[in-house]
Amino acid sequence: MNAEIRPIRTPAEQGLSGELKALSRAGGPRIAALREAAAQAFHDNGLPHRRVEEWKYTDLRTLMREALPLATPAPVAQVEAHQSLLLDTGLRRIVVANGVVVPELSDLADLEPGLSILPLAQALAGGSEALARLGALQPGRYDAALALNTALATDGVVIEIAEGAQIARPVHVAHVVSGQRPAASFARSLVVVGAGAHFTYAESFEGPAGLAYQVNSATEFVVGDEAHLDVVRLQEDSASALHLSTLLFEIGRAAKVHAFSFGIGAGVARTTLYASLEGEDSQVGFNGAFLLKGRQHADATLFLDHQVPGCESRELFKTVLDDSARGVFQGKIVVRQAAQKTDGRMMSRALVLGDDAEMDNKPELEIFADDVQCGHGATCGAIDDDLLFYLRARGIPLKDAQSLLVQAFVGEAIETVEHEGLREALVERAEAWLAARG
C-alpha cells in the first residue's frame, strides 16, 4: 500500500510534453520564463492522480485519456452559429473562440471611461502595463491545469478598470469551442480592478454537443483596495468535454469580492479557485451551484488564504446529482497567525437524486490564529421525504414536487448573484435543466 510508485507516463502526458516543446516567445523574457518554468513543472510532475491530495477525487491521469491537438482559430461564421446559447442581458460581450479572441464578434468599441479591454495576444505583442501582473499570482503548489495553461495559452482578455471607475455594464467573456474535430484550447485572462472601482465580470463556456474537446481556462483577478468585484461564471460545455478552469484572486484592503460558479456542462469539470486575502477588512463570498446528470463529474476546489486580520469569507456550494453523476467539493480555509478576527464560514450541500450518484466532500480548516470564528459544514442526502409528502398532500405530483424542492435548494445559492439579468439567466438554466429531467 505504501510501496514506492513511479508512474509511467500516460499517452496524454507524452502528448502534452510534445506540445510543450515549442512555447510561444511573445510577451518578453518574464513571460517566456514563466512559460518555461510551467512546462518544466509539468514535465517533472505530470498529470495529477488520486495520490495527489488536491486531485484525490478527480484523477486526471485516468480521466484525461489523450492529449488533443491544439485548437486552431475558428471561422467567424462558424462561431456565430453558437450565439443562440450565449447570455444576452445587455452585457458587453467579448467572444473567445478556441482560445482566441474574435474581434468581429466582440463589442470592443465605445468603452466606458476607465475601462480598458485588450486581447492578451495583442497585449503580449505590443506590451501593456497590466502584463506585469500576469502570472504574478501563484498558488504556491504545483497545479497541473494552471501549469499547462501558463505554458500554452496565447490569447485571452486583459481588462483594466481604472481607480474609482464605476462600470455599470458587465463585461461578458464568452468562451466558445467551434469545429468538428476534438481539440484542446487554452485561454488566459487578467482582470485588474483599481482601488475603489466597481465591476462585474461574467464568463461562459460552451461548445458543440457531443464533441469530446478539452478546455483549459485561467483567469487572474487583482482587486484593489475598497474595490468591488462581482464574478459570474456559467459553464455549459458539451457533456463529452473536459473542462479545467483556474481562478486566482488577489484581494486588497476593504474590498468586496463575490464569485459565483454555475456548472451544468462538461463530462469532467474541475474548477480550482485560489484566493489570497492580502488587505484587512475585506469581504469575500465564493458560491456555486452544480447540476449534474448522466455520468458527469464536477469538482469544485477552493483554497482560501486569510493572511491579514479582520476579513470575512463565506462559501456556499450546492450540488444536485442525478443518475450516476459524481460531485466533488474540496474547500480549504487557511487562517494565518496574523489573521486574527477572521470570520470564515464554508458550507457544501449536496442533494442526491440518482441511485448511483456519488458525492465527495472535503471541507478543511487550517487555523493558526486563536481569535477567530471559523466553521464549515457539509451535508449530503436525498430529498427530505417529509417535504415531499407536504407538497404531495397538497395535490402536487411527485415530479413537480421534486422540481420545486430542487429549485429551492439551488435557488439559495443563485440568490447570491447581485446582477439581476445574470441571476435570471442562471435561474432559467436551472429550470431548463429540471424540465429536461422530465
Partner: protein, 490 residues
C-alpha cells in the same frame, strides 16, 4: 489576551513538571538484541513460546514491512525514526503471570504509584476505582505482568488474558480473528506491529454474556530505547457486551520512544463493545524534546447485524499522535460511535480522527470530536465517513469543534465525506473558535481566576465526550484535562 508575566512564569514552571507519571522504575530486564531483523522476530516468537504458524505469520508481516514506506500524509513532522536503534522486546527478569506474589515488588509499586491496583484485594477495597470492580491486564514494556480477576471472569465464560497466552491456549480463536480487522498489510505501522508485537490483551465474550465487570489494560513503557508494540484483540460473540478501558503512561525521557499498537474489535450480531482510552504517554518537554511517538491502528468491525462499537478517547499525551479508531459497519443496522477529546500543549502534534465505513443497510454512526490546542502545538482532526453503494439508509452525524488557547498553536480539520448511496444522510459540522471573552469575563466576575475559568469553560466544551466515559475514567479524564491545560491561559 496578552499573557501576563505571572502566567508566563507559571507556564515555565508547570510545563515541564506537570507530567506526574514521568518516573522510572529501576528493575532488571531482559531485552532482545537491539535492531530489527528476522532474528528479532524469531527471538520474540521463541520467547513467547509460539506455535510455528504464528512465527510464519510474523515473518510474512516482516518481509512485507521491508517493502513498505513510512506514510507522510499526516500533519505531523518528526525526525526520521531509526528502526535499527530500538529494542523490540524488553521484559522484567522475574517470571511473571504466575501469581501476584511472584511479581517483582518494584513493578507492583510502580502500578500502585500509577493508581492501578494489581492485588485483587486492594481492588476490592476500591483503592483506585471508586468502588467498582475492574479487571486489569497490566503490560510492562513488552510483557503482560499481571491479569486480575481471571477466575471470576472465567466463571462467566469470559476469556481475558495476555494475547501471548491466548495464542497458546485458544489458537482456534486467535487464528480465526487475528488480522481479520486490521490486515497484516494494512499500513506501515500495523505491519511492523504484526511482525514484532509482544503482548497485549485478548478478550472473548461468549454468546449472550454481559461481561460482569469492566476490563482494562494498563500500558507502561519503562525501559530506555524501547518500542512498545502491543496487540489487542476483543471479540464479542452474538449478543455479548463488554466495556474495555485502556490507559497508558511512560517515564519522562529526553529521547523519543516508539509506540505502535494495533487494536482489533469484532462485534458479532447484537453484540456491543465499548472501548475507552485515556492516553497519557509522556508528551515531551516544553521544547519538544522527548516524548512518545504514538502510531496506533485501531479498528472495530461490526460484523453482525445490530452490533455496536463505541470508541471514546481522551488524548492528552504523546509527542506525536497518529491514531484513527475506526468502525466498519458491515452488519445491517449496526452502529458506530466515536467520541474524542484531544488536547495538545507544548510542542505536541496530534493528527487523530476516525473512519466510519458504512457497508450494511441502515447503519448509523456518530462522531463527536473536540480538539483543544494550546502552547505551540498542532491539533488536527482527520476523519472519513463513507457510504458504499449498498449502504441504503446510512446515517452519519459529525461534529468536530476545535478550541485554540494562545496564538502560537494550530487547529486543523480535514474531513472526508464520501457518499455513494442516494439514501445516505450525512451531516458534518465543524467550528473553530477561542474561548470567548464574554464567557471568561462572566466566570471571572464571579471570582474565578483565569485558569479556573478556562478549565471550567473547557470542561463544558468537552462535556459531550466526557459523559461517554465510564465513571472511573471520567474523573481521571477531567483531572487530566485541567493538568494538561495548566499554564496555557493567555
Amino acid at each position: 489576551m496578552p499573557a501576563v508575566q505571572e502566567t508566563v512564569d507559571q507556564v515555565r514552571s508547570i510545563d515541564v513538571d506537570q507530567y506526574k507519571y514521568g518516573f522510572f522504575t529501576d528493575i532488571e530486564s531482559e531485552k532482545a538484541p537491539k535492531g530489527l531483523s528476522e532474528d528479532t522476530v524469531r527471538f520474540i516468537s521463541a520467547k513467547k513460546d509460539e506455535p510455528e504458524w504464528m512465527l510464519e505469520w510474523r515473518l510474512e508481516a516482516f518481509r512485507r514491512w521491508q517493502t513498505m514506506r513510512e506514510p507522510d500524509w499526516a500533519r505531523v513532522s518528526y525526525p526520521p525514526i531509526n528502526y535499527q536503534d530500538l529494542y523490540y522486546y524488553s521484559a522484567p527478569k522475574r517470571p511473571s503471570q504466575l501469581s501476584i506474589d511472584d511479581i517483582d515488588p518494584e513493578i507492583l509499586a510502580t502500578y500502585e504509584k500509577l493508581g492501578i491496583p494489581l492485588r485483587e484485594r486492594d481492588a476490592l477495597l476500591g483503592i483506585a476505582s471508586g468502588g467498582t470492580k475492574v479487571a486489569v491486564d497490566a503490560v510492562f514494556d513488552s510483557v503482560s505482568v499481571a491479569t486480575t480477576f481471571k477466575e471470576e471472569l472465567s466463571k462467566a465464560g469470559v476469556i481475558f488474558m495476555p494475547i501471548s497466552e491466548a495464542i497458546r491456549e485458544h489458537p482456534e480463536l486467535v487464528k480465526k480473528y487475528l488480522g481479520s480487522v486490521v490486515p497484516v498489510t494494512d499500513n506501515y505501522f500495523a505491519t511492523l506491529n504484526s511482525a514484532v508485537f509482544s503482548d497485549g490483551s485478548f478478550v472473548y465474550v461468549p454468546k449472550g454474556v454481559r461481561c460482569p465487570m469492566e476490563l482494562s489494560t494498563y500500558f507502561r513503557i519503562n525501559e530506555r530505547n524501547t518500542g512498545q508494540f502491543e496487540r489487542t484483540l476483543i471479540i464479542a460473540d452474538e449478543g455479548a457486551y463488554v466495556s474495555y478501558l485502556e490507559g497508558c503512561t511512560a517515564p519522562q525521557r529526553d529521547e523519543n520512544q516508539l509506540h505502535a499498537a494495533v487494536v482489533e474489535l469484532v462485534a458479532l450480531a447484537d453484540a456491543e463493545i465499548k472501548y475507552s482510552t485515556v492516553q497519557n504517554w509522556y508528551p515531551g518537554d516544553k521544547d519538544g524534546k522527548g516524548g512518545i511517538f504514538n502510531f496506533v491502528t485501531k479498528r472495530g468491525d461490526c460484523r453482525g447485524d445490530r452490533s455496536k462499537i463505541s470508541w471514546t478517547q481522551v488524548e492528552t499525551g504523546s509527542a506525536i499522535t497518529w491514531k484513527y479508531p475506526s468502525c466498519i459497519l458491515r452488519g445491517d443496522n449496526s452502529q458506530g460511535e466515536f467520541y474524542s477529546i484531544a488536547i495538545s500543549n507544548g510542542r505536541q502534534q496530534v493528527d487523530s480522527g476516525t473512519k466510519m465505513i458504512h457497508l450494511g443497510k441502515n447503519t448509523s454512526s456518530r462522531i463527536i470530536s473536540k480538539g483543544i490546542a494550546a502552547g505551540r502545538s498542532d491539533n488536527t482532526y482527520r476523519g472519513l465517513v463513507s457510504a458504499h453503494r449498498k449502504a441504503t439508509g446510512a446515517r452519519n452525524f459529525t461534529n468536530c469543534d476545535s478550541l485554540l488557547i494562545g496564538d502560537k498553536c494550530g487547529a486543523h480539520t480535514v474531513p472526508y465525506i464520501e457518499s455513494k448511496n442516494s439514501s445516505a444522510q450525512f451531516e458534518h459540522e465543524a467550528t473553530t473558535s477561542k474561548i470567548s471573552d464574554d464567557q471568561l469575563f462572566y466566570c471571572r466576575q464571579r471570582g474565578l481566576d483565569p485558569e479556573e475559568a478556562t478549565a471550567l469553560i473547557v470542561n463544558g466544551f468537552v462535556k459531550d465526550v466526557l459523559q461517554q466515559l465510564p465513571m472511573e475514567f471520567a474523573v481521571e479524564a477531567q483531572k487530566l484535562i485541567s493538568v494538561s491545560l495548566e499554564g496555557s491561559v493567555g
